[in-house]
Point group: C2
């Protein structure tokens, strides 16, 4: 390879580190479009489609230890036959292989690890369209959303994790020196070394909706801080992570490292693989994004590990007042429709005063707001082409029952209807359900609902909305929170409430956000540096300098 990966990617790494420290954002993969991307080796959509097709109905080879057989767990909601046979490996063999790889990976040091991580991302970048197809066909996301969640943006997000892990590692001083005043005679001169010690084997539990977007930060933060990673995808969304693991193993092997620093774990559901691996004594780090219930289980049972659990929770929008009612309605309607309500920014709970809101079109009652939202949804979904672009297909078979159940919880403002996908007539595509609730119905809306379910919740006042927001999100988490108000005081109080609830807040973003709005700045889960520094410890070694001054 000539120059090491670190030498090749050093300037990029340092640039990202500097930008993050300044509160800026570098998105080199996202910024490179068109010819730039092609020059960087990104395969065309046509090539990607061929590569993707060549994967279907065949074994997916990884040459991993402990292979027991093959397992296929995926189906495409768009009806193509996946039939990809992943290696079914003995979990104990995967853990043992990762453990064996630990010493060599620790010895590689942070620079080499960060360099190789960037190299892995660069190669993943060339396969962005292939990864997008894998996400499209496993999660049901429409193609554009899949590219966003699987391609350059996800790689840039991973690059932030790499840069932050690299920066934190660089911060550990290599050499220590000091004098120990002894109180009698000459001082004792001491020298020492400081060593970053990775915690140990890391487990990434993949999620069904955003396997790469949610999975990359933990995967790359663990790798750069020296921890081998076992990647255990959600059974419904294996392929995107399997491709990622294959690329990582290739890059590692080419650089002379054990490929078992990154392995893929897939098993038939009855093996309860995630629980088995998460409680293995050798697994010391667990990353998970998803439902609060499994996050709670992990925190209670994976006692030997540090658990980084991001609870998807109760995305909430507080509506107080607006200068631009049309944009507000259009934006909310689009958020409700996108990706069958599974977008990271889809609100489940819309909190608004039952007495209505002040707008540039006069006062709007809660009934007006509900009706306008319903009409905007119908307008958006009136064209089959737009349905294909926006909505995507449902993969989770519990959704139908949950929609029926939600319908009985309150007044239906907009019913969920089956929609026709122009290209995939058998795909399960549905418009969002919007149900009006009262603030008293907390036990309904303080639960995380799957699929396109949202509640329009009438409160006593915006102050009451903020109190409910603080309480429900503080308890159950949220990936996304937003406030709409023309009153600076309300915005300030909302900001304070978001701080108390520990949620990221977006203010008056009138239009909806095709780009994930949590990009920008250091966007790691689990609130900052701890997400990285919790993956290692620093151990010092000291020695007496014989010829002391």
């Amino acid at each position: 390879m000539g120059a090491t990966a670190y030498e090749r990617h050093r300037a990029l790494l340092h640039d990202v580190v500097r930008a993050m420290a300044a509160g800026e954002c570098r998105m080199p993969f996202t910024a490179a479009t068109g010819q730039d991307a092609a020059d960087a080796g990104m395969r065309s959509t046509r090539t990607a489609a061929k590569v993707f097709a060549s994967l279907l109905g065949r074994p997916f080879d990884l040459d991993q230890p402990g292979e027991l057989g093959r397992v296929a767990t995926e189906f495409s909601p768009y009806g193509i036959a996946m039939g990809i046979g992943y290696p079914h490996c003995d979990p104990a063999a995967l853990v043992a292989a990762a453990t064996r790889a630990t010493a060599g990976w620790r010895a590689a040091g942070p620079s080499e690890r960060a360099g190789l991580a960037v190299e892995i991302l660069r190669r993943l970048n060339t396969r962005s369209h292939e990864l997008a197809l894998a996400v499209h066909h496993t999660t049901g996301q429409p193609p554009t959303a899949a590219l966003r969640a699987a391609g350059p943006r996800a790689q840039d997000r991973a690059l932030e994790a790499v840069a932050q892990a690299f920066a934190e590692s660089e911060r550990v001083p290599a050499d220590l020196r000091w004098e120990s005043a002894r109180g009698r005679g000459r001082p004792l001169e001491m020298r020492g070394t400081c060593t970053l010690v990775p915690r140990g084997v890391s487990l990434l539990i993949g999620c069904a909706d955003y396997p790469l977007w949610n999975g990359y930060p933990g995967l790359f933060a663990s790798l750069v801080t020296g921890n081998p990673v076992i990647v255990a995808p959600h059974p419904r969304a294996v392929l995107p992570l399997a491709i990622t693991v294959r690329v990582a193993r290739q890059v590692l092997a080419e650089a002379g490292h054990s490929p078992d620093i990154v392995t893929l774990a897939v098993a038939p559901p009855e093996e309860r693989l995630h629980r088995r691996l998460a409680t293995d004594p050798a697994v010391r780090i667990v990353d998970f994004t998803g439902a609060a219930r499994f996050a709670d289980w992990l925190e209670q049972n994976a006692r030997q590990a540090v658990v980084f659990a991001q609870r998807t929770g109760l995305n909430t929008v507080i509506v107080d007042s607006t200068h631009d009612y049309r944009s507000l309605v259009r934006g909310l309607a689009a958020s409700l429709c996108r990706c069958n309500g599974r977008l990271r920014t889809t609100p489940q709970n819309l909190l608004a005063p039952a007495a209505g809101i002040a707008t540039d079109e006069g006062r709007k009652s809660l009934r007006d707001l509900g009706a306008d939202l319903g009409e905007a949804v119908d307008r958006l979904l009136g064209h089959p082409a737009r349905v294909a672009r926006l909505v995507g297909a449902i993969t989770d078979d519990t959704v139908a029952a949950e929609l029926a159940r939600a319908t009985r919880c309150g007044t239906v403002v907009h019913p969920s209807q089956a929609l026709r996908h122009p290209d995939h007539p058998h795909a399960d595509v549905r418009s969002p359900l919007l149900v009006r609730l009262d603030a008293r119905d907390e036990r309904i809306y303080s639960r995380e609902w799957p699929g396109p379910v949202a509640f329009l919740i009438g409160t006593d006042s915006t102050a009451h909305s903020l109190e409910l927001f603080r309480r429900t999100v503080g308890r159950h988490g949220a990936l996304y929170a937003a406030v709409h108000s023309t009153d600076p005081l309300v915005l300030a109080v909302a900001e304070a409430a978001a701080l108390d609830a520990g949620a990221h807040l977006v203010q008056n973003l009138a239009d909806d956000l095709p780009a994930d709005p949590s990009s920008g700045g250091s966007d790691l889960p689990a609130g900052g540096a701890h997400f990285v520094t919790g993956r290692f410890r620093v151990v010092r070694s000291r020695r007496h300098v014989a010829a002391a001054a």
Copy 2:
């Protein structure tokens, strides 16, 4: 106060931050001796003795909320009557007061908090001799050791925690700005803020041996990262932390803050106060240094909190070979005697090949080493004055029974004998017990023994010693580990084993260390930055910039 505390201490803070990043060590409090210390306001030993005497046999006033009465839990092993009545406050009232103080302390921001923390340390520094007397009379440590554990060195250690917490806080960028590429039309310009959000109420569980040395890092790291702290001392060692809390409350109140940002929690033993507070839903951080058993309990039960538990564990010395046998023996003997075996660097387990070690005085069998250690101990403790200076008095009444038990575990190399303290004839002072064991006796030496108990353990080889070290310390932790060898290969392997075990290692430090050797460099518990970054999260707020470019 004129200038704010931050303005006054800014240069010092930045200097310490810079030095830590470079692997150097600033010890401004330790460096200021004699006239410098007096100029900085340090009270003389004579004044300190008067102040200390004035505290005895009286209520200790703190003016805290929820006071139910008074409680006295201490006795001096040197026989003076303590009789200090601490406020016994309703734990729920202390938690509620800390919770109320949270918002104001968060709003103060990192600079002000760090400035006030330095101001607290500066005031504690003026009372170093008073704090040393408090430690001497509660822990039984001899006066010099008590000054070391309670005075300038402990303040310098706390200053490192302040500087590291300040540096980590400063690293959070205040403003974020980026463009969200929208894929259609103009990019959306975004602005945001990044806010450090403290985790919440912090609990410091004090230890009996080193209440300030072990307590300060967590106390000050929590304060500077914005968390109010409830200080719950060990019932046998309340006074050092009570004085600390009083000083902190004074500094906070003078600066216009709620004094309840720092409170003292003491209760009669039957209230099980530590367990009660550690599992209070509002307590979000717990610091503890001590026995693995209670550390395990905390990690299993204080589920709502981040637990920073430092296990005192199995201090271990690996003896392979030496160029200076006399110094080795003298140093080990002194370590065994100091502070009744409760020094942070006292080894419990000495691992050496049963076949003996190579030295500058020829080969020494394990029996030689044991006999020489025993003689060196007797020589050291031959003078009552040296006993007073070195050994200290035992406070823990389980020690006598444990010594008798340890005596029955193997061949006694040096028996523990009652010694006479020249000034305090009734103090319980004992020489160290050294028992020879075999490597097979792992269930004996893999337990943490209280008091002056050490084992000389014969192994098959140094490789075997290293394997035992790796396993026992890896499982039970250790505050201290050392290796003596003339072979660079053994030193390198020992360093790797220490990394695996997660212990700090000292190499060939021939003489014993009156100064705590873990000073120097960033000496925070729990291995580095995580000790600070685990106390807060970073929450971002975003808004759309209306007049986008």
